[in-house]
Symmetry: C2
Amino acid sequence: MSQPATASPVAPADVLAAIAFGPDGLVPAVAQQHDSGEVLMLAWMNAAAVAETLTTGRVCYFSRSRGKLWRKGESSGQVQRLVELRIDCDGDAVLLLVDQHGVACHTGRRSCFFRAARGGGLVEIMAPEVSEEALYGAGHAGHGAAGGGAT
Amino acid sequence: MSQPATASPVAPADVLAAIAFGPDGLVPAVAQQHDSGEVLMLAWMNAAAVAETLTTGRVCYFSRSRGKLWRKGESSGQVQRLVELRIDCDGDAVLLLVDQHGVACHTGRRSCFFRAARGGGLVEIMAPEVSEEALYGAGHAGHGAAGGGAT
């Protein structure tokens, strides 16, 4: 799973032209920790989010629940540095190799995929590493606002 | 990345209840090779596809382009055996740990994510391991029919 340590700035035009955004202007993006291979989360990007991510090297999504750009970690500090952006054969999905600072999930777990179908039902296979309160402060609205990953 | 070698049959009801299918009845599903950690593809599942996958241990998607269940490998032989199904925090994405037989991509590449944004644009970082003709025979309609992964 070794990848380049740092993404070079990439001119977004060619990349944007190769992405088949859906009717809602969004494409699903999978974030994977570049060295361990952990799949951290799935979120959505619009063209502006892809362009900003490529330009700044810091991952930016589009929050469907908030209807605006979501710079990962802007509330929680749990930022994702881009190592490499990849596109699938049809251009309708994006894979982000990232370096995740801290935890990806708003629940304080490393990955959002912490529930596994085993035996009779769903089992939690990952414990929180940090509390939601520590991530967002008391009385936060992190979850609803985030729609998944730590904001 | 070590996982159980074989998925036990799982009663689908609890799992289905925890998945937030979209307005179109679908949820995005990421397939990851269980031992190497390679992200192989992103496709879509409806409730019937999830239930069949859990029951049979062989991954079944829903093909958006064909509008029907798509038993991965039914045309190409490149089947995916389910090792474990996971659900994210909001239930609106699925991670499939699989054992991929052969190649995941209809282009004959191991992964559908074979184009990387590097330097001036997109670079192919993976070569085909098998020809499309070998996968589907001459005159196949594999790509259009598959909408991504090897059918």
